[in-house]
C-alpha cells in the first residue's frame, strides 16, 4: 500500500494505491488519524483511484477515521471510488456515509 499526501490550502488529499486489506488497513487508518489529529484540515479527501482491492477490514478502517474526523468538524470523504471498493461499499451500505455526493451524482 502506497500512501501519498497532498496539501492544498484547507484541503488534505491522501491518495491510496494498492490493496486495502488486513495487511494494510491498520497503516492507512493510522496515517489518516494522524492527519485528523495533527493537521485538522477543513477537508480530508481519500483518493481511492488506485485502490485495486478493498475488503471489510479496509472499509472498517475508513469508517473509524470518519468517526474521529466528524468529531473534529472535518469534511471527510472518499473520491474516485470504483471497482472492488465500490462494490464492497455498496453491498455493506456505507457508500452514502463515505461518499456523500455519490447519491447526488
Amino acid at each position: 500500500m502506497r500512501i501519498t499526501r497532498q496539501h492544498d490550502g484547507q484541503t488534505v488529499r491522501v491518495a491510496l494505491a494498492g490493496e486495502l486489506d488486513l495487511a494494510s488497513s491498520g497503516g492507512v487508518r493510522e496515517h489518516l488519524e494522524e492527519v485528523v489529529r495533527e493537521i485538522r484540515p477543513r477537508h480530508l479527501l481519500v483518493d481511492m483511484d488506485e485502490v485495486s482491492f478493498c475488503d471489510s477490514t479496509g472499509l472498517e478502517a475508513l469508517i473509524c477515521v470518519r468517526a474521529v474526523a466528524t468529531e473534529q468538524g472535518i469534511d471527510y470523504r472518499l473520491v474516485n471510488v470504483h471497482g472492488v471498493a465500490l462494490v464492497t461499499l455498496q453491498i455493506t451500505g456505507v457508500l452514502p456515509l463515505l461518499v456523500p455526493e455519490h447519491d447526488a451524482g
Binding site: 486489506d21 482491492f53 472499509l59 468517526a67 471497482g83 456505507v94
Partner: protein, 132 residues
C-alpha cells in the same frame, strides 16, 4: 463437466488474505475463469474467509481448498476455533465480513472437521462459458 480442485496453505498472519487471494485467482485464471468482475467478487470472499480464520484460528497455516464443477466453485477455509461465525449488526469494529460473503455467495455453511471447523462457501456461479 470438468472438475478441478486445489489445496492452498498460506502462513497465518496479516499477509494471509492477500496471498490467498493471489493464489486462488491465479488457479481460477489457469482453469479458464477469467471474467474480471466475477474474480473480484471471489477475491473478496477469499479475503473475508481468510481474515476470519487468521483472527479466530490458531497459529500455523490457513488451509484453503477450492473445487470446481462446471460453473460451480466451492471454497473451503478451515481454522482451529469451534465457534460458529455469526452475522452481527455492523459497527465501527466490524461485522461486515459475513455481510459481504452473504451477498457474494450462493450459500455458506460450517462443518466440524475434527480439529476446529471448516467454513464452506458456494460462490456465485461463473457467468458464461469457462474458457479452456
Amino acid at each position: 463437466m470438468s472438475q478441478r480442485s486445489v489445496r492452498i496453505d498460506v502462513p497465518a498472519g496479516l499477509n494471509a488474505p492477500g496471498e490467498a487471494r493471489h493464489q486462488v485467482t491465479t488457479s481460477l485464471h489457469a482453469w479458464g475463469f477469467t471474467e474480471p468482475r466475477w474474480l473480484d467478487a471471489v477475491a473478496v470472499v477469499v479475503s473475508e474467509l481468510v481474515t476470519n480464520a487468521v483472527q479466530h484460528g490458531g497459529a500455523g497455516s490457513v488451509p484453503i481448498t477450492m473445487m470446481t464443477r462446471g460453473s460451480t466453485v466451492l471454497l473451503s477455509v478451515a481454522d482451529d476455533s469451534a465457534e460458529l461465525p455469526r452475522r452481527r449488526p455492523p459497527d465501527d469494529r466490524g461485522g461486515r465480513g459475513l455481510m459481504l460473503i452473504d451477498a457474494l455467495s450462493v450459500r455458506w455453511y460450517v462443518q466440524d472437521d475434527g480439529r476446529g471447523k471448516c467454513v464452506h462457501v458456494e460462490l456465485q456461479p461463473y457467468p458464461g462459458e469457462v474458457a479452456s
